[in-house]
Symmetry: C2
Subunit: 229 residues, 2 copies
C-alpha cells in the first residue's frame, strides 16, 4: 500500500522523465500511467553507492532510472573493476539481461548519486498482459530499438578500448565526447578512477598522461571538465 502510494508520487513527479523513456516512445501521455500499472512497476530508491542490481542474481527486472545516475560495472575475480557504461534519467538498465532471461546478471548497476527507479518484472514485458494491453506491441518494438542502440554504444566502447595505449584510448574517448556535444569544451561524467576503469587502464598512468597532454598544449582540463585545443 505504501509502495503503491510512492509509485503514484513517482509517476507524477517524474512524468517528464517517463515520457522520454525509450520504452514509451510513440505512446500517448495518458496511456503511460495505465501501462506502468499494467506492467506492475515497482518504485524504489537507492542511496549513493548502493547496488541497484547485483552481479550474479537472476535477471528479473527491467529498470527505468527516474533520477540520479548509475553505472554499469563488471568485476573480475581479482577485484578489477570495469565500467561498462552509465545510466542517466529516462534510460533503461538491465533490459538486455531481462529480455535474454539470463540466470545470472554479469554486471552490477550501482547508484552514483541517490536514485529513484522503477523496476518492471520482465515477465510482464515478455508475455502479453492479462488485459491484452494494446500498447504491448509498441513497447516490444521500442525495446528492440533501444537494444539496437545499446549495441551501437558497445561498438563505440570497443573502438575506444581496443586502442593499445592510454593516450590513444583517452584521446579517442575525449574526441568522441566532443563530437557528441558538438563542442571542444565539455564535461565528462567520470572521475579519474572511473575514467581509468572505463578506458581499462591504470589510474596513475592516466593522470600522468593527462598532465603530459596539458603540457603539450593538446588540452586543458580541470577535474571533469576538458577542452581540446
Amino acid at each position: 500500500m505504501l509502495n503503491f502510494q510512492q509509485k503514484v508520487i513517482f509517476m507524477k513527479k517524474y512524468f517528464d522523465v517517463l515520457r522520454k523513456c525509450p520504452l514509451f516512445i510513440g505512446i500517448a501521455d495518458e496511456h503511460i500511467f495505465k501501462m506502468l500499472n499494467c506492467l506492475g512497476a515497482k518504485s524504489e530508491s537507492f542511496d549513493k553507492k548502493y547496488t541497484i542490481i547485483g552481479e550474479g542474481n537472476p535477471a528479473k527486472f527491467i529498470g527505468i532510472l527516474l533520477s540520479g545516475s548509475a553505472q554499469i560495472e563488471q568485476m573480475d575475480y581479482y577485484g578489477n573493476r570495469t565500467i561498462v557504461g552509465r545510466v542517466e534519467p529516462s534510460q533503461l538498465f538491465s533490459e538486455a539481461f531481462a529480455c535474454a532471461q539470463v540466470d545470472a546478471v554479469p554486471v552490477s548497476v550501482i547508484a552514483n548519486e541517490p536514485c529513484d527507479v522503477f523496476l518492471i518484472d520482465c515477465s510482464h514485458i515478455l508475455h502479453t498482459c492479462q488485459n491484452n494491453c494494446s500498447f504491448h506491441q509498441q513497447m516490444i518494438f521500442n525495446l528492440m530499438k533501444n537494444l539496437a542502440v545499446k549495441i551501437i554504444v558497445f561498438h563505440q566502447k570497443i573502438e575506444i578500448t581496443s586502442k593499445r595505449t592510454t593516450r590513444e584510448k583517452l584521446m579517442s574517448y575525449l574526441m568522441f565526447c566532443a563530437k557528441e556535444v558538438g563542442s571542444n569544451s565539455f564535461d565528462i561524467p567520470y572521475d579519474r578512477q572511473e575514467l581509468a576503469d572505463f578506458l581499462e587502464v591504470d589510474r596513475s598512468g592516466l593522470s600522468a598522461e593527462i598532465s603530459k597532454l596539458r603540457k603539450e598544449g593538446v588540452l586543458t582540463s580541470t577535474k571533469k571538465h576538458f577542452e581540446l585545443l
Copy 2:
C-alpha cells in the same frame, strides 16, 4: 528473375538453416517461405575474404548467414583491426545497425569462407508489410530477444578484453570456450592473427605466451585446437 530463381534455390537448400534462424523462432515451417518473400529477401554469395557489409555504408540490410562463416571487424585509422565477433550459419548480422538505422555502419562483415546469405531490407522489418503479415509481431519479438543475447555476448567480450595482460586475456578466452563446449578440449574459430585481433593484443606476443603456457604445462595446442590441463 535470375535472382528470384537463386532465392528459391537457397530457400530449399538452406531450409534447415533458416528454421534455426533467431528471426523465425516460433514461426511454423510453412510460413517461413512466405515471410522471406514478404520481407523481400535478396540472396547473395560472397567469396572468401570478400566484404559482405562495408564499414561506413548506411545500414540498409539485416543479414542471415546461410553457409560459410563471417567475421565482424572494426578498423581504426591506423589500420589496426579489431575482431568484434564471428557469425555462423543461421545467425543474423548487421541487425543492430539496421534496427538502430545508423547512417554509417561502424564495422565490416567479412566472409571467412565462401558464404551464401539472405539480405533483408530493414524497412520491411521496421514497418509492417503491406499484406499485414501476421508474423511480423513475432519477428519483432524474436529480433528483440536476439539483440538482447548479442548484448550478453558483448559483456563476455568485455570481460575478456578488459584484462590487462595477454596471458589473462588468453586464459579468460580459453576458459570461456571450454565452459561453452563443456570440455577442456576444443577448437577455436580463430587463427593466431585473428585471435590476437579478437583479444586486442600483439600477435607475436600472443604466440610467445602460448608457447610459455605450453612449457609450463598449462595447456597443449596444435593450431586451432586447445586442451587445458
